[in-house]
Amino acid sequence: MRDLFRGKLVRITAEEPETYAKSEIHWQRDSEFVRLADSDPIQLSSAKKIKEWAEKRFEKGLKPDRYSFTVRTLDEDKLIGFFGLRIDLMHNEALVGIGIGERDFWGKGYGTDMMKLCLQYVFSELCVERVSLGLHEYNARALRSYEKCGFRLEGRTRKDILREGKRYDSLWMGILREEWLQMQNGDPI
């Protein structure tokens, strides 16, 4: 049986609230990262608040339609990012959000490896029929990475983000199960 939680450069983990809070504080301070990952206005939360938020997240136990993971590098076991899934159980579709908080790991293939690991998990373990995601127009690096993983541009909401006095489009991408299967070029998923 393949190891679902290990890619080529990174592995999926579940972190203790304190560990996660320490990293999240550090990532939040990087406003460029937050503006790439999120459309909400940037704000800085205290470690205490983040830790409480992390603890409370599992208060009601694990839901079948919500998944959130952290990611560590395989070589130095460094906590570099996260990804979250929201599953539409009726229509068997997953909305994914992924981010690398550690900026010196940008542009080195870690994001693509993370997304491939996420797609393998979603298609072979959660068995959904399609995966969707959204990104800002100005996040060119993410766009290239997602295309490498097989996502196709499916639409754009014109000028819905206002930042630095300029309006940007939001792009919407998706990948279907069959498309992902073909990309596995024959090796069993």
């Binding site: 079948p64 339609d65 599953i87 159980l89 009726m90 068997n92 373990e125 068995c127």
Partner: protein, 202 residues
Amino acid sequence: MKDVFTGKLVRLSAFDPEEMSKAFTRWNLNSEYGRLLNSAAHRMQSAKAVAKWMEKEAEERSPASYFFSIRTLAEDKLIGEIGLDVVNWPGRDAFVGLGIGEPEYWSKGYGTDVMNVLLRFAFTEINLRRVTLTVFEYNPRAIRSYEKAGFRQEGHLRNYLNREGRRWNELYMGILREEWMELNNYAQNAVLYEASPIGDGG
């Protein structure tokens, strides 16, 4: 498009703990009903306690279970309850539990009709791939009704129950979506909605 919740004799309606707890307590006075439905011995609970239990269940329920009350089309009479509990989302398999509380509606096709409505909801609305149920060896009427609705026997737990000083098997039955579609010659490509042309501004 026909209403998903309506069958030939009955319809699925909202499960209201207030109303259902009173019905439950009344139906369970008939111990035959309780023994057909539950493997555990029946505790005589007040409607108030049952309502509290139902509300707690509804609150804790993950987005994976669906409970309905069953009402006749003729006089809109409450005659039973049916529940669908998805046990495995990746495999899209769920357990169904059906109870017709009013005995005068037994063996008149109401059970089979409501099961058909439930299966249509399961396979075409929440897109499950399989539905499973358990039924006791001493309930041949239900076994026949489930077989009519398309369920196939998939084995039994030997001597699972102990009632009236005798051991009884508990049967497992299951139906796959493709089997249900074939049985009801449900054209897979039937157009549910006329796709309205979306102005693409081009």
